[in-house]
């Protein structure tokens, strides 16, 4: 036991207590804006943390960089401006909502460590372009790391658990961690690439059971240019399909993700396969509901599923809500900001 604890220490990372500079994700705020809103509410209202949603922030260029239209020097200087804004606002811990951003920022910081002349060049570029200076962040932490860190505190505030309300059995979850969270710099990961705990730890803490399956660590198939270009999208679909085929025999009740892209693909490609082949990966013709970690946390805390934005998922989440015993009002599902119902025409 003592030896186990000793070795396990090597797989931990420092997750700051407070003082978070939140960087919204281009993908998450486009596809799952309710998840980012929920995260900010959880930090501020449940955990009483200091977190800023800075209106001056912009993209890190991650999607452009990994689809190779943005040069490295440009990306490094854009990230330097993000750090400059953080220093200006008095924060030290950079918290990118996007996993691509998380990986890229770690990549840039590591590059500056190995090639200090690149850091100096970036400082000059930023100064020349904007007159700005910047400090390096003390930590780069993914929001899922923070939820993991405070999983016990959050559990004590939760209204529901990951248990089937009818049988009392743990619900079975598939966790899918974004490649750029875990595969670029394994030391930046809770549990490292070999034993990533960030999502499995919260599923287990909140009563669920984690499914291990052969293609657990396979990429969702985003592939940047392989999704951005319609002609290449078969790559993305085929990779997600490979995962669905591998996980389906274990009858998961839900899929949990920490990457906004993975969340979208694992949801949308199930919809696409259902439309193309009539095939679903559950026994009831619905598909496996896919949740982000913010959405799951919010649901168990008792937040309204439609305020979390679960109506934006292509795979209906209501079978999961019913299993957990979460009450919801179907009449408010399609209500907009003004309070009127926005008609959903199914065809």
């Amino acid at each position: 036991m003592i030896m186990e604890e000793k070795y396990w220490k090597n797989y931990q990372k420092e997750i700051p207590e407070d003082n978070y500079y939140y960087e919204r994700s281009c993908i998450r705020q486009s596809f799952f804006p309710g998840a980012e809103k929920a995260f900010l509410n959880i930090m501020r209202l449940e955990l009483r943390k200091d977190i800023i949603d800075d209106p001056d922030l912009h993209t890190c260029t991650g999607i452009g960089y990994h689809s190779d239209v943005v040069p490295l020097e440009t990306t490094m200087t854009i990230i330097a401006r993000l750090f400059s804004l953080m220093s200006e606002k008095g924060y030290k811990n950079f918290v990118p909502s996007c996993v691509t951003s998380f990986g890229l920022i770690n990549e840039v910081l590591e590059t500056w460590k190995h090639f200090p002349e690149e850091l100096e060049k970036t400082r000059l570029y930023l100064q020349q372009a904007t007159g700005r200076t910047f400090d390096l962040p003390e930590t780069v932490t993914h929001p899922s790391d923070i939820i993991y860190k405070f999983r016990k505190e959050l559990k004590s505030r939760m209204k529901y658990q990951l248990l089937n309300i009818k049988t009392g059995e743990p619900l079975k979850g598939v966790e899918h961690i974004g490649c750029h969270y875990s595969k670029v710099f394994p030391h930046a990961v809770v549990g490292s690439m070999e034993f990533p705990q960030v999502l499995s730890g919260i599923i287990q803490e909140w009563g669920g059971k984690v499914i291990d399956y052969p293609e657990r660590r396979h990429c969702c198939g985003f592939g940047f240019r392989n999704y951005l270009i319609q002609a290449n999208r078969g790559y993305s679909l085929a990779n997600s399909r490979k995962k669905f085929e591998s996980m389906a025999p274990y009858n998961p009740d839900f899929i949990l993700t920490n990457c906004p892209g993975c969340n979208m693909f694992l949801d949308r490609w199930q919809y696409t396969i259902r439309e193309m082949e009539g095939k679903t990966y559950d026994k009831h013709g619905n598909g496996i509901p896919v949740l982000t970690y913010e959405e799951l946390t919010g649901l168990l805390l008792g937040y309204d599923p439609w305020d979390l934005g679960l109506q934006l998922h292509a795979i209906d989440v209501t079978p999961l809500l019913e299993k957990i015993g979460i009450s919801f009002d179907p009449n408010t599902k399609y209500v907009g900001k003004s309070g009127r119902i926005i008609e959903f025409i199914s065809h």
Binding site: D56, H58, C219
Partner: protein, 236 residues
Amino acid sequence: MIDYYETLRKDIRFVEGLNACMNCGVCSAICPAAEFFPYDPKKICNILQTKDNQLIEELLSSDYIWYCGQCMSCKTRCPRGNTPGLLISTLRTLSQKLGLFTKSPKGRQQYAIYKTVGESILTKGYCTHAEMIKPELHPEQGQVWEWYHSNLEEIIDRLGGNLNKPGSGALRKISDESIAEVNRIFEVTGGKNFFDTIDQFSQQQAKEMGLETDSEPFSSYFMKIYTEQDDNSNVE
């Protein structure tokens, strides 16, 4: 002939990405692109290790360097610390700088990425924005997306959005000052010049193919490279 190998070595990602490949094939076994495309990441290491500029020029002009999905699974698993995914980035950068990307169907697709993601960064400050994801170009997004996209402000603002308005919140309008600084960074660091290079070589290629690049929102050249499969992409 240009000394492609020495040019590539000036990119720090090349220095980081290639140590000494022993050809074990672990990267090929784990690579999602190798599974679905006629692609093998260890071949990238093999060719680069030869330092043969003729072979490297062929690589830069081919579809071969455009299959990788940049998941970086190769980085985690290589026992020698090589990263074919990083080498791919250096090859793609050089291919675009020299205009060789227009010689292959997959390479030509870079124009569509520049026209969508690239222009969005400079005008909106986002790599992607819900307004850009047109349902007619994204059938996989389904009916939910059609509903959301056509009622975007009403729906997103219920969910913590602040669509195209000043202040914080999802898909807020990024201030003119921030956009101006982003643009200035692109000018100073060569990002703007890189976009112009992609644009110029693509205009030339479009002309050679008898297609135009002027129609809005999507030109005939854009739609061809965006939607059409090349002959080799689905083999094996």
